[in-house]
């Protein structure tokens, strides 16, 4: 049996909808291991939102869109350099055609750098913040 990319996504969808904690599938030439965890746990088959370099974890844009640091004009930014974040702390909003997507930090730690200017287009995978993990 050959697993296609669609199969893997279908498996991940099923995993997401069931209370499974771990799943391991092995076929000839293919191994898939999925572990359910908190938001910081890496998700299989999609790039992690947080990538680690030099001891710092980078929060990458999980989608293309307009990067907003605050909930609205004139409002305080969700996070500044030095802020402490938990995995579920909202660090920014990415807007895609009027859809506002709250982006969680995905990691616990301290914001060391804000990589993008407010209201700029960010690409999929673009570094947004660097975090020193707790």
């Amino acid at each position: 049996v050959e697993l296609t990319d669609d199969d893997v996504r279908e498996i991940l969808r099923i995993v997401a909808e069931t209370p499974l904690a771990e799943l391991s599938i092995e076929t000839a030439g293919f191994t898939l291991y999925v572990r359910r965890g908190d938001a910081s746990a890496p998700a299989a088959a999609s790039p992690p939102a947080a990538a680690e370099t030099n001891g710092l974890v980078t929060i990458e844009a999980p989608m293309l869109g307009t990067f907003y640091r605050a909930e609205g004009p004139g409002r305080a930014p969700f996070v500044e350099v030095g802020a402490t974040v938990e995995p579920d702390t909202t660090v920014c909003i990415i807007e895609v055609m009027k859809m506002m997507n709250s982006i969680p930090a995905g990691v616990a730690g301290t914001i060391e750098e804000v990589c993008e200017e407010n209201a700029q287009l960010v690409e999929y995978g673009q570094p947004l913040f660097r975090v020193r993990p707790a």
Partner: protein
């Protein structure tokens, strides 16, 4: 128009970038993560990554495409072919945000995207359509099939481009197929309507290239024959259609123009017909609201840049030429080199191209995004390159293509090169005796 967003990948993305450059337009391409290092990403003035590899999360997301186009200061979107090229939603969304959509109006796309409505429009415009109509139950299908005679084709109203078609040779098959076709069509196209059409056993696929400017001036740029197909997917295409009586050619191209006028078509499009090889009669099949994969054969014989024409029409420029100005020279043939394993049911063969080089031959044009070291991702269609030969006649074009296929070097992934060679060498192909069922009978 100053900056064009290229909402596609592969060879057509490069083709659009080239046309833009010739018109002095800047380009921004939206790539998936898998195509970040691709030639189109490097060839555009700017590349933005719009999402992960799977097309459903990147190239098929109209919202991301429009957002990316707006965020990069583009004023137009060229959708290429496939992906969102015939998405009325993208066309509408683009226009709502002040972007030029390089294609027909969304209303025309909606009409022609509904293959049943398109049939009615064609019949209304005086075009011959195949006998058939919508059926909603197996019982209705069986009754209609008795009237039409077997075999019959079951087609999805939301299908097109060779997708959503099933053949039923008798009542038992038809009963089995109709329910399945309806549920598949519902799942694939979000529209479970299906219709039956009379099946022509010896059929040729002939299509007419049309162009209409914003004032409604409409011309045709001749026809193409795309009868060499496998599972309703084109493999070899050519212009002009060989062995076609001049009266039929004239009637076909007139029919194409008549339908374009009837539906208020704008920009470039293709009206597809099926031609009964036995009787010489032709019937309307569908309208394609996009640049076709096989457009280079028309470019070769007309000497016109069709992608540039799309962009100029989208900008509001008049056609600038009349039907009488359209002249045809020689014969052009295109074959599609795909990354697929012909020995294993044509399964796609993604991988890394360890070697890729195409020969430089007089009369040969190669449209490709491939290069040594390029990765063929598993997410998209398997087209590696289009080889297009233009010669003074059909035999000359065939000879150039055969030489090109012999000299092309591709290593790292399996390709259909041997199949293309055997098609072009086949006496039936030389004799222009291909029908849409020929390839699967003769060469596969």
């Amino acid at each position: 128009m100053r900056r064009v967003f290229v909402a596609n990948r592969g060879e057509i993305a490069l083709r659009i970038i080239r046309a833009c450059r010739e018109l002095g337009l800047e380009t921004v391409i939206g790539t998936s993560e898998a195509d970040r290092d691709s030639l189109p990403a490097r060839g555009a003035d700017r590349a933005v990554c719009i999402g992960p590899g799977p097309a459903a999360q990147s190239y098929l997301r109209a919202d991301l495409v429009v957002q990316a186009a707006l965020g990069t200061g583009c004023d137009a979107i060229h959708p290429g072919y496939g992906f969102l090229a015939e998405s009325p939603q993208l066309a509408r969304m683009a226009r709502e945000h002040g972007l030029v959509f390089v294609g027909p109006p969304s209303e025309v796309m909606e009409l022609t995207g509904d293959k049943l409505r398109a049939r009615e429009e064609a019949a209304g415009a005086g075009l011959p359509v195949l006998r058939g109509r919508e059926v909603d139950t197996a019982g209705a299908a069986l009754a209609l099939a008795d009237e039409l005679g077997y075999p019959v084709l079951v087609k999805a109203a939301g299908g097109g481009g060779g997708r959503g078609i099933k053949l039923a040779r008798d009542g038992t098959e038809l009963e089995a197929v109709v329910g399945l076709a309806r549920s598949e069509a519902g799942a694939a196209f979000g529209d479970d309507r299906v219709y039956l059409e009379h099946f022509i056993a010896a059929a040729r696929h002939v299509e007419v290239q049309i162009a209409a400017d914003t004032s409604g001036a409409t011309v045709h740029l001749g026809e193409r024959d795309c009868s060499v197909q496998r599972r309703y997917q084109k493999v070899v295409e050519e212009a002009p259609a060989p062995a076609l009586p001049e009266a039929t050619r004239a009637a076909l191209t007139e029919a194409g123009v008549a339908l374009a006028r009837a539906v208020g078509y704008r920009n470039l499009g293709t009206v597809e017909f099926v031609l009964d090889a036995t009787t010489g009669e032709f019937f309307f099949l569908e309208v394609n609201c996009r640049i076709q994969v096989e457009h280079p054969v028309t470019e070769a014989v007309t000497g016109r840049d069709l992608v540039a024409l799309q962009l100029r029409i989208a900008e509001g420029e008049p056609l600038g030429f009349s039907q009488d100005d359209v002249a045809f020279h020689g014969h052009a043939i295109e074959c599609r080199l795909n990354a697929e394993d012909v020995t294993h049911d044509f399964r796609p063969t993604p991988g890394t191209l360890s070697r890729f080089s195409v020969p430089d031959l007089p009369g040969l044009r190669v449209d490709t995004h491939c290069h040594p070291g390029a990765v063929v991702p598993p997410y998209y269609d398997s087209l590696l390159a289009k080889l297009i030969a233009h010669g003074r006649d059909r035999d000359a074009a065939i000879d150039v293509l055969l030489q090109a296929l012999e000299e092309i070097e591709v290593d790292g992934v399996a390709t259909n090169r041997s199949l293309l060679t055997s098609v072009l060498e086949h006496p039936d192909f030389r004799g222009a005796e291909m029908t849409t069922g020929w390839l699967e009978r003769a060469a596969v």
